[in-house]
Amino acid sequence: MDDMMFLTFLATLAGAAWRLATPLIFASIGEIFSERAGVLNIGLEGTMLVGAFCGFAAAFATGSIPLGLLAGIAGGMLFGAIFAFFTITIKADQIVVGAALNLLGMGLTAFLFRTYYVSTGKGIEIAQPVQIPFLSDIPFLGEAFFRQNLIVYSTVLVAILASLVLFRTSFGLTLRAVGEHPKAVDVAGRDVASYRYAAVLVGTGLAGLGGAFLTLGHSNQFVEGITSGRGFIALAVVVFARWSPIGAFFVSLLFGLFYALQLMLQAQASIVVPYQVLQALPYIMTIVTLVVVRGKGAAPSKLGQPYEMR
C-alpha cells in the first residue's frame, strides 16, 4: 500500500468506526444513567433488539425515519418499564430480570419479524449521509467525520447532554446519590423509586434508540439477533468508561474501531487470518479490556441492590 492508499484506508476506517460505535454510544450512555442510580440492567441486548424492531416496523409502515427512531425509543422504554416494575417495585433480582428480558427480546422480535415481515423481503430507505458544507471537503478528515448521517452526528450531542444532565443538574446530582446512598436521598425528601424509574427509562430509551439506529441508519433490514451482542459490549463499555458519558463516547469509538477493522480486514484479500478470528475481534477486546481495566473503584456502591425503605 502506498501512503495515499493508506490514508484513504484510515479515513474510511475512522468513518466506519464512528458509525459502528453509534449504537454502543447510545446504549452505554443509557446504561450509565441506570447504573449511576444503582440499577444494573443487563437486559440491554433485548432492549436494543426491541428498539431495532420497533424502529424498523414504524419506518416500514410510515416510511419516516424520525418516526422510526421515536418508535425505537418508545419500544425500549416500554421494555424498560417492565424491567423497572420488576426490579424497583417488586424488588426482584436485577440480573435475573435482565436475563429474562434478553431472552424475551430475542424471542419476541424474532417471532414478530417472522410473522409479519420476513416474507415481504423488503427493506426500508435508511438515513442518508448529510455532508457538512466545507468541512466534508477536507481531505481524509472530511471523509471520516463529516459525511455521516444525522443519527451518527447526534451521538456527540447526546454524550455532551448526558454529561451535563448527570453532573450539572439537580436531577443528575440526586440520581447519582441514589446509586451511592439511597437512604440519604430518602431523608432529603426525594423518592428513590421515582429516580430509579426515571434512570431506567432514560437508559432503555437510549438503548432502544441505539437498536433503532441499526435498522434505520446502518442496515436497511431487521434481521433476527441484529444487535449481535452489542448490548453486552455496551455493558463492558460502561465499566471501561468508569461510568462517564464522555468516556463512554470515546470507549465506544474504540470498540467501533475494532468492528470496523474486522470488517475491513476481511475485505483485504492479502490477509490470510480466518475470518472467524477477525469477527471475534470486538468480543475478544471486550474481555481483554475488562480484565485490564478491572475498575470497580468508580462503580456506584449500591449497584444492583434494591432499596428497602425503613
Partner: protein, 510 residues
C-alpha cells in the same frame, strides 16, 4: 405550667411485629433547652426520635410541635417544620462534596447547578459562626468521622432548623471532638435552638443538659433537672439498680506470654505509615490497654493484628506461632478473637440472622456443622443461650441483626467473640453504643476471661474504660508506643502528656 411546650409527644405507640418499640411514650421539650435522653439498649430512644423527625410513622399517638399537631410522612416534611436529626449512621453521600450533599433534593429537579458560590458562602458563614471548620468543597469520603459529623450538624443548620436531634453523636468521637461538640450544643442553645441529645455517657449528659429524660421499655419513666440529680442516680433510674463503677478483680499474677508483637509496621489504606515499629506483649491473665487519641495508628494496629491489613515488617507471635500476615480466617482459627472498632464493616452481616452471625467464623465446625450440613438446632440453642446471658433485646434468633438497636448488635459481637473461648482477645472500642448496665456486665465478663487465663488487648479512647479493667496501660502516639503506666488515676496528668506525644519526663518534674 400555662405556657405550651415547644414539642409535646403524647402517648405514642409503635410496634415492629411483636416488638413494642414505643409503648405509649410521652415527652415534653421546652424551647431552647438541651434535653438529654438516656436508656438501656433497645429502650426505644432512636425509634422515638425517628418518629419525631419523620423517618418512621407512629402507629398511635400525637406529636404537637409549636402548638400544632403534626404528622410527618417524610423527613423532608419535618425539615420544612424546622426539625432536623443527625442519625447514628450518617446520611451523607460519600463521593459528593459537602455543598452537593447540602443541596441534595432541594429545589426543582430540572434546576441547573452552575453557581455554587452562594451555597459555599452560606456554608462558610455558618461554619465560621459555630467554629465548625467545614470546607464546602471537601469530598465526604476524605473526611474523618468527627469531621463528617460536623458536616451533618452543619447540614441541619444549613436547612435552618429549630429543633436538632442528635442520636449518640459522641459514640464515634474522640474526647477532644466530644468536648467540641458539647460546647457547640451550648452555643446552639444560646442561639435559641432546642437540642435533644442521646448518649450513654453520663458525664457528658450531666455536663450539657438542662433536663434529662430516662427511657425504659418504650416509655419515658423519669424526667429530671440536671441540678437535682447525679450520675449515680441516673444510672439507677436507667438500669433499675446500682451500677458499680469500680469492679473487683483478683490479684493473680499474669502467666506466660500469649501474644507478642515485635517492631510491627504497616501503612494505612491511604498508603501513609500508620504503625511505626510497635512492640508489645500480652500475658495470660492480664488485660493490657492501649490509650491514645484516635487516629494515632490504633485502627491500623488492630487491623494488622487481625490480618485485615497487610504488615510491612515486624512479627506477631501468638502462642509461639508466627501469625504475621496470615489471612483473617487462619488468624481467627488460631484462638484469636476480635471485637472490631467498626462492627458494620468487620463485625456483623446486617442482613443475616442473629444465629448466622453467631457462627460466622465457626459455621463449618462441630457442633455447628457435621458432614457439611449445618445443625440448625444446635446453632439456635447456642444463639438463644447468648441472647439470654447477654440480655440481647431481640425478637428471636432468626431476626436479621440489622433490625436490632445499635447497642444490642454490639452485645452480640462481644458475646460471640467471648463464647469462642479464645486464648487472646483483641478489643477495639468495647463500649461502642453499649448502655452502662450492659457495660458493667461486659466488663465483668472481660475480667472473668482474664481470671480464666485469657490474654486481652484493649484499645480504647475512653480512659475510664481502661482504668476500670486494665492491668497495664500503653500509650500510643503517632504509630508508636510511647510508654507504659499502671492503671492509677493519680497519674492521669502523665497519661495525658504521653497521649499528646510528650515524653520528656523532666518537664513534668519542674
Amino acid at each position: 405550667m400555662s405556657q405550651k411546650p415547644f414539642l409535646r409527644v403524647e402517648n405514642i405507640r409503635k410496634r415492629f411485629g411483636p416488638i413494642v418499640a414505643s409503648d405509649g411514650v410521652s415527652l415534653e421539650i421546652e424551647q431552647g433547652e438541651i434535653h438529654s435522653l438516656l436508656g438501656e439498649n433497645g429502650a426505644g430512644k432512636s425509634v422515638l426520635m425517628s418518629m419525631i423527625c419523620g423517618m418512621v410513622r407512629p402507629d398511635e399517638g400525637e406529636i404537637v410541635f409549636k402548638g400544632q399537631s403534626v404528622r410527618f410522612n417524610s423527613p423532608r416534611e419535618a425539615i420544612r417544620q424546622r426539625i432536623g436529626m443527625v442519625h447514628q449512621h450518617f446520611m451523607l453521600v460519600p463521593n459528593l462534596t459537602v455543598a452537593e450533599n447540602y443541596i441534595l433534593g432541594q429545589g426543582s429537579p430540572l434546576r441547573v447547578i452552575n453557581d455554587m458560590d452562594e451555597v459555599h458562602a452560606k456554608i462558610r458563614e455558618l461554619s465560621d459562626r459555630y467554629a465548625l471548620d467545614v470546607r464546602p468543597d471537601a469530598i465526604i469520603e476524605d473526611l474523618s468521622v468527627g469531621e463528617q459529623q460536623r458536616v451533618e450538624i452543619l447540614k441541619v443548620l444549613f436547612h435552618g432548623i429549630d429543633l436538632l436531634i442528635l442520636d449518640e453523636p459522641t459514640a464515634v468521637l474522640t474526647p477532644q471532638e466530644t468536648d467540641r461538640l458539647l460546647s457547640l450544643m451550648g452555643d446552639l442553645a444560646k442561639d435559641g435552638k432546642t437540642v435533644v441529645f442521646i448518649s450513654h455517657k453520663l458525664d457528658e449528659v450531666m455536663r450539657v443538659s438542662n433536663r434529662i429524660g430516662v427511657m425504659r421499655d418504650g416509655r419515658v419513666v423519669h424526667t429530671v433537672n440536671v441540678g437535682e440529680t447525679n450520675a449515680r442516680e441516673l444510672a439507677r433510674m436507667m438500669v433499675g439498680r446500682d451500677v458499680r463503677m469500680e469492679l473487683p478483680r483478683s490479684p493473680e499474677p499474669p502467666g506466660h506470654i500469649v501474644l507478642s508483637v515485635d517492631k510491627l509496621t504497616c501503612r494505612a489504606e491511604t498508603g501513609l505509615p500508620a504503625v511505626r515499629g510497635v512492640s508489645l506483649y500480652v500475658r495470660a491473665g492480664e488485660i493490657v490497654g492501649i490509650a491514645g487519641v484516635s487516629g494515632n495508628g490504633q485502627t491500623e494496629l488492630s487491623l494488622a493484628l487481625s490480618g485485615l491489613l497487610p504488615v510491612d515488617s515486624g512479627r506477631v507471635i501468638l502462642n509461639g506461632k508466627d501469625i504475621t500476615g496470615l489471612d483473617p480466617a487462619r488468624i481467627n482459627a488460631s484462638s484469636f478473637s476480635h471485637i472490631p472498632e467498626d462492627r458494620h464493616k468487620h463485625g456483623i452481616v446486617a442482613s443475616m440472622s442473629l444465629s448466622e452471625n453467631t457462627i460466622l467464623q465457626r459455621y463449618d465446625q462441630k457442633p455447628f456443622a457435621s458432614r457439611g450440613m449445618l445443625n440448625r438446632g444446635v446453632i439456635g440453642e447456642h444463639t438463644r443461650d447468648l441472647i439470654k446471658r447477654f440480655r440481647i433485646k431481640s425478637r428471636d434468633e432468626d431476626q436479621p441483626i440489622g433490625a436490632l438497636s445499635g447497642g444490642n448488635q454490639q452485645k452480640l459481637v462481644v458475646a460471640r467473640e467471648l463464647a469462642r473461648n479464645p486464648d487472646f482477645i483483641l478489643v477495639n472500642q468495647l463500649a461502642r453504643g453499649i448502655d452502662i448496665g450492659a457495660m458493667e456486665f461486659v466488663m465483668e465478663e472481660m475480667l472473668k476471661q482474664r481470671d480464666n487465663g485469657r490474654a486481652i488487648l484493649l484499645i480504647s479512647t475512653e480512659l475510664e474504660e481502661l482504668f476500670a479493667i486494665c492491668d497495664r496501660i500503653l500509650v500510643m502516639f503517632h504509630g508508636e508506643i510511647l510508654g507504659e503506666l499502671p492503671p492509677d488515676r493519680t497519674r492521669l496528668d502523665e497519661l495525658g502528656l504521653l497521649m499528646a506525644g510528650q515524653t520528656n519526663q523532666p518537664a513534668l518534674a519542674s
